[in-house]
């Protein structure tokens, strides 16, 4: 069975990190599984964990009284789920539900933050990598907001 630090190298998020850095990050992680339909977290929950998805699809949802639950994004293998562990007030901004069987590595956000505080070089490296993901999601959200496909039904 592959160790967590070996699994991390499959993801673009951690690709290229040194062995020592991977070991530091992996020390805050554990492998988890979610059955299809179960929630990984809900909007407003404390954001004490984030995930690297290894298998399956996670749907991000928000609910409104008018439209009910709306899925606005899906994330798959190799992708980062959750960045609110990095910035106060450390609260989840949406619901996350396993669309099918999900295998992931769960990271303790406080543990990673502590290691980053102790090793600012690693902290800066991780911050750059997470920022790139957040930037890509922001760009996608802008396009989504423009609602470019003409009239609604």
């Amino acid at each position: 069975m592959r160790t967590i630090d070996a699994l991390l190298t499959d993801s673009p998020l951690f690709h290229g990190l040194s062995k020592d850095d991977l070991a530091m990050v992996a020390g805050c992680g554990s492998n988890v599984q979610f059955k299809a339909g179960t929630y990984l977290f809900h909007e407003g929950d404390p954001s004490d964990q984030f995930y690297l998805i290894r298998h399956g699809t996670v749907g991000l949802e928000l609910a409104s009284p008018e439209r009910g639950r709306v899925m606005f994004a899906t994330l798959g293998a190799g992708e980062l789920l959750g960045w609110s562990w990095l910035v106060p007030p450390y609260r989840k901004g949406c619901d996350a539900r396993a669309v099918d069987l999900v295998r992931a590595t769960a990271f303790d956000g406080a543990c990673i933050r502590k290691k980053c505080d102790e090793d600012p070089r690693l902290g800066y490296e991780l911050l750059k990598r997470v920022s790139r993901v957040v930037g890509e999601r922001l760009t996608a959200t802008r396009l989504q907001l423009l609602d470019v496909y003409g009239r609604r039904a």
Partner: protein, 289 residues
Amino acid sequence: MAAVPERAPAGVAVVEAMAPSPWAVRRVKRETHDTMTLAIESAEGGGRYGFAPGQFNMLYVFGVGEAAISISGDPGAPQELVHTVRAVGRVTNDICRLRRGQTLGVRGPFGSAWPVDAAVGSDVLIVAGGIGLAPLRPVLYHVLAHRSEYGRVALVYGARTPGDLLYGPELARWRGRFDVQVEATVDAADPDAWHGHVGVVTTLIGRVECEPAETTAMVCGPEVMMRFTVAELEKRGLAPERIYLSMERSMRCAVGLCGHCQFGPEFVCKDGPVFRYDRIASWLRVREL
């Protein structure tokens, strides 16, 4: 007596191009709440109708007006002319209300084509948004009919909701082949009714397997979607000269006379609608155009 010219003057060709011929509706298929696909046949007989993938026709609802509509059918089946029409204005609303046996006028085909011949030997990446899949469907028909001439083939398609996806049965059929990668996404979905990908179409481009230096990308959709797509393709390493876009502007005469579709130095109706990206990149940044 004046000598008869060996070649007709250019004006004659223009007059012919401006005269619609009558075509009868043979089949109508509802694609989405506002989009129909019409198969038509010449009311004057005459069998085959040649066109290149990416070209368009001017469809004329008698007494109402004309609209430029891309040909969405199979270039390898020229006995039938197929258009997919979204009801967005008076003419297109009336086209979508046509029923079997009714007649409309057709001028065309007009415009430039997707580079299906130039792409031979390369990977082909097709990126479509919304109704933008219609002018790209002939590319898929052509490429799949000549599958061995191309490398990897991928279709990345995005729409607003699952109900807005065009050509559902064909998407499933293409996905069922083992020689085409089909990725579909919607901007938002009811989680109980959709189990596919959710997110804008650009988020799927990273999933496509292709060799950027040997990939030809063909992109059609809302202009802002195409701009975001180009940025993503360039991030993947595709050079601007390997990216083609189909532009949309108000087309009236379809032969480059009236100027309604002018886009910088180009006329979308006769120089386009398909352009190589590097030819129009600077004009895409001019907001007034």
